[in-house]
Every structure is written in C-alpha cells, then in structure tokens.
Amino acid sequence: MAALAPEQASRAPGIAFILKKALISALVALVLFSLMIGIRTEAGPTGQLIWWTRLGDLAAMVAAVFGGSIVVELLRQWWGPVGTVRIVPPKVQSGLAVARKLIAPVLLIFTFLVPVIFYEQRYILDLGILVLTYVMLGWGLNVVVGLAGLLDLGYVAFYAVGAYSYALLATNFGLSFWVCLPLAGILAAFWGVLLGFPVLRLRGDYLAIVTLAFGEIIRLVIINWQSLTGGPNGVTGIPRPTLFGIPLSPGDDGLAAKLGIEFSPTHRIVFLFYLILALALLTNWVTIRLRRLPIGRAWEALREDEVACRALGINTTTTKLTAFATGAMFGGFAGAFFATRQGFISPESFTFQESALVLAIVVLGGMGSQLGVALAALAMIGGFELFRGLDQYRMLVFGMAMVLLMIWRPRGLIGHRAPTVFLRHAQAISSDLVKEGHG
C-alpha cells in the first residue's frame, strides 16, 4: 500500500484536471447546442412558427461531450506526451521502411491493373477516372503551391480554360482531341502568365485573394459571354476522343469493328482511364524532372527565401511566372480531358469548391510530395465515395477524418522533403525545416 500512495498522490490533481476540462467542454457544448438541438423550430401548416424544446436530446449531447472529454484525456495520459518516440522493434522499423519504398510502385501497378480487375464494374472505373483527374490536378497545383510556395486559390480557372479551349475548338473548328490537347495546355499556360503578372508583387493572404478573384472572373466571364460559351447552358456535343483518328464507336469504322471484336461501351471507359493515367504520369514525370533542373531548384529556393534568391542573381519574376505557367498548363490538360470525358461542360463544374478541393489534396498530401498528393487524392475522392453509405453523416465523418489527419500529421501525409541532388546519400529533410512559402 505504501508503494501505491505516491502514485495516487500524483494522480489526484490529474483527476481534478480531467473533470475540470470535461466540465468546460460540456459547458461549451451546452451553449452551442442549446439553440441548435435544444429548440426545434418549424413552419406550421398556415405559415406560423411552431417550436418545441428537446431537452432530452440536449442533455444526451452534453453528457456525451462530458464523457468524451474524459475518455480523450485518459487516452492522452495513457498514450504519453505527444512527440515522444515510441520504441519500435528494429524489425518492424525496417519492415516499415521497405513498405514505404514499395508503396509507390505497388500503387502504380495496381492502377495499371484496375481496368483489368474491375472491367465489369463501371462504377469503379468511373471513380478511378475521377480520382486520376484529381491526382493530375493535384500534381499540377503542387508545382505552384508545393514547390514555388505561391498560394493559388483560383486553380480551377485553368481547368476551365483547358476545358473550354477543347470544347470550343472541337465544336467550332472540328479539331481533334490530340490537336486540341497541347493547344489547351498552351492557352491555360498563357492565362497562368496573365494571372502571374499582376500578382508578382503580392504575398501570402493578398496573393490568395487575388488568385481567388481570378478564378471567379474566369467563371463569370464564361457565364456571361453567351455568344461564345453558351453561358450557363454550357457547351454540348463535345467530340469523344479517338485513338489516333479511330473512333471508339459501334459503327463499321470504329475500333471494335477494326479489331474484329464485339463493341462494348466499356472500351471507351477503359480508354479514358488509360488516357488520364498517361496524362497524370506525364505530369508526374515532368514535375520530377523539373525539380532536378535549375528552374525547379529556383522554385524551391523561392519558397524558402525570396530575398536570398534575388541576392544570388535569380530573376524572381520569371521564376514565379514559369511556376504559374507550368501549373496552369497541367490544369489545362486536365480540363481538356474533363471536357472530352463528359461530352458536356458548363460553368457549374468550375466553382471555387473545385479549387478548394484540389488545394486540400495538395495540403493534405504534404506540400511538394508527389506520392503524398496521389494518396491524398485517393483518400479525398475515393474516401468520400467510401462513406456514401453514411448518407447525411458523410460530410461529418469526412470532416472529422480530415481534422484528425491534420492533428496527427500537420504537414500532410508525406511532410518531409527529398533532396534533388546529393553527394553520398539522399536523406529526407524533416518537415520542420522546410518552409511553406509566404506567397
């Protein structure tokens, strides 16, 4: 008993602390939920307001918060202080290291095999295409936000420019997808440079606001320039992509007839899947190469310290503009793909929501990390579908998952940075040292 006494003594203030914390949480919950849950209002049959109290529900909610707070605090004490290194057996550690190395190739092989495994399940194929589109958008935005450290809230503008470039060029001039794809990229890059010029002097919050406004301007122009874009009605009848001129249609000149196999609409879905996979991998390959070139190093240096860049003779203006243009170009490619997949586009597809989603993917993945962005896109888009069974609680669960992830990994799934060049061995740089950029 004597041995127990000091332990109890050290625990005593702990219990008081836990109870106090739980009480405060419960009080906050009471204030918050008294109107949200405690009182229910509804419009009566003649339009008058009827209301009644739900004190039972309110009490249950407050009690849940009280109990939850105690459980969380106990868990925290059991877990020990945050940041302590838990002793992991070396075998497990080396296993984890191997798993970390394998994850990218395994993911890539699996992606290649998705159309083979899920050939019969159109829903999964469509979801795969959607995820890959966001992977590509995430990788594109990663150049601007992750590498150059320029916070861009209007990335969807370039997606829209790419989509409308292809849609309008194809419907008005009958140009094929393969001609329009580079044009869409070039046009989007051009708009990226146009956006870049006025915002060169801006930093941080100011840059974010101007890019946000730019995204809205593009959308509003598309809505209002009815004679060119069809306004809110959008553009219909956008041609489907062809395999180098051979359409994937049921007719005699279609791919199925030429190969002598029976036509199936799934062929086109599989083709679209591999098309977006190729485009995304192109984005990835170019980004990885650019990082190892002087321009990529200059982007990262710009994120780290702009003044030092200028002292080293780096033209920060052109460096920022190339970052904007490169990111925008990939957004334009993705947009052209989006237009050809949908066959119909309207301004509704290019709202701020999309920009926010792509930015969330980049931040969640770990700014600058290619694999992290791919995993985040999979989690954000695929995970969102996974929770579909939860109906109205989907957003709640999803939001909670994101909050937990940000607590657990504040710098994203993969926060560390891999060096672009090394003398002896490349060692990852801790996310504590890597700057996020200031605009």
Binding site: L290, P294, I295, E300, A308, L312, T322, V421, Q427, L433
Partner: protein, 277 residues
C-alpha cells in the same frame, strides 16, 4: 579613378522620408583587397550595402563597378537580381539567409542558377536530358564540392542547411555567395556570433578568397580583431557620414574614429580598442 579600384562610390545618399541614413558618402574599394566598412550601430553600413547590392535604390550619387577587363557598370542603374547576375556582386546577410529546407549542396547549386539555366537551354534541353546539360551539372557539383571542402563541410553536404550549427551556416552562406563566382563579395558581419576559434578560421577563409580567387571583398564587421587582422583598407562611418578612411593602423590611431566609434571618452576608448585587438 584608377584601374585598380573595383568599386568607386561617389556622393552616395540614401534618405528614408526625413531620415538621412547615408549622406554624401564617397569611398573606393581596391581590386583584390579587403575593404572594411565599420562604424557604430545605426551608422548606415547595412544601408550602404543594400544600395550597392541593389536592394535599395539610392536617393543620390553614383556607384561604379569596374571589371578587370575595363568594363564599367553603374550599379545604381541596375536593380536587385541583375547586380548579382550582370555586375557579379555577391552578398551575405547580417541575419543568415540560407535556404534552410534544402541541403548544403543544394544551396550551392541554387547559387549557380544562371550558369545552369543557360546550360539547360532554359529548361528545355535539360528536360530531355541533353548531354551538354549533364556535363554542366557535373561541373556545378564539382564547384560546390570544392567550396564545401574549403569551408570544411564536405561531410555534411547532404544535411539540411537549417540543421547545421550557426558557425557552419555562416561559412556556408559565404560559400554560396562565392559559387556565383563574384568579382566583388560583400559580407555583412560574417563574424557575428562566432567564437574566437571560428573567427580565426573565418579570417583565414577570407584571406584565401582574396589571395587564391582574386575576389575583392567589402566587409562590414564589428569584431575588431577580424577587421584589424585582415583588412587592407578601412572606411569608418558615423551617422551616415564618412569620418575616416585609411589603413587599419591609421584608423586604430585616429582619435576621431575612436571617439565616434566607442563613445565620447577617448582614453577609455583607446583602452578598450587595444584590449580588443
């Protein structure tokens, strides 16, 4: 102006609103020599540096940089990155400004940006992996390796710059400036925060930069032992005005300097000065 002067500053003035930070300053820095710019806190030394390196646009005066081939450049006509790129003036900062999330080697590679940019055909040749670019990159790595070796950081080349000890960061910043292959190296308090052993190593490094590389150095420093040991010429500023100009010995014995630099009491000042050197 004689050919042996690399930098000649004439009538330089810098005003911020009503405050005159630098007033009608004229001095010269000789080629392949170390010129020190000293003065009490707030004398305007860093302002002079910021004018020379293009971070400030001077209110008046001219700054002429003459290269060895006789090409003269008016620095006040160039702005920020062009001074480093065209006039070959490199600088370090009073508060270290490395790229902390990049490795020591990467820091030195970023410094060779302009040369590598040309070699990579403004990215397009580099993207397809042209052999010319690969050779240029190898050359750049060799130069970086040489400087890492010179500052004794070869072992830590692959460590993040932000992880290095303070003294190593100071030397890395000098190495990074040298990787731009400058004609004039401007160092803003390179010995600040260093211990005696590190200061001595720094003096040695600066002397070897002057002698082995033929780079002229302009130096702001508070550590008098460093200034007196390595400077060939000293310019003293007080309240934005030049109060003395000469060899270290002449400056050391100049009562006007001592009075301005270390306070009004000359006798006390002399005592401190001698113990400091």
């Amino acid at each position: 102006m004689s050919e042996r002067d690399i930098l000649s500053v004439e009538g330089l003035s810098m005003r911020f609103g009503g405050i005159v930070a630098v007033n009608d300053l004229s001095f010269t820095a000789q080629r392949r020599k170390i010129t020190a710019l000293i003065g009490p806190n707030g004398a305007g030394k860093t302002t002079v540096f910021n004018c020379i390196t293009g971070f400030y646009k001077p209110t008046g005066g001219s700054m002429r940089l003459t290269h060895e081939n006789g090409q003269a450049i008016q620095l006040e006509r160039l702005n920020d990155f062009r001074i480093s790129k065209l006039a070959k003036v490199a600088r370090t900062f009073q508060n270290i400004r490395l790229f902390p999330g990049m490795t020591a080697l990467e820091n030195l590679m970023v410094a060779q940006h302009n040369a590598l940019m040309r070699a990579s055909g403004f990215t397009f040749l580099g993207l397809i992996g042209a052999p010319g670019y690969r050779a240029a990159e190898k050359h750049a790595i060799d130069l970086a390796r040489l400087w890492l070796d010179r500052i004794g950081l070869l072992e830590r080349a692959d460590d993040a710059a932000g992880n290095l000890p303070y003294g190593d960061q100071r030397r890395l910043e000098i190495a990074r400036a040298m990787c731009t292959e400058p004609a004039l190296l401007c160092l803003d308090e390179p010995a600040a925060g260093l211990n005696a052993r590190e200061s001595a190593a720094l003096s040695e490094l600066l002397l070897s930069i002057r002698d082995d590389h033929g780079t002229s150095i302009l130096l702001i420093e508070h550590d008098m032992s460093v200034v007196m040991e390595i400077s060939d010429h000293v310019v003293v500023l007080d309240y934005g005005v030049k109060i003395a100009d000469g060899s270290p010995q002449a400056i050391r014995d100049n009562p006007k300097v001592i009075a301005a630099y270390l306070g009004a009491d000359e006798e006390e000042a002399i005592a401190v000065m001698e113990s400091g050197s």
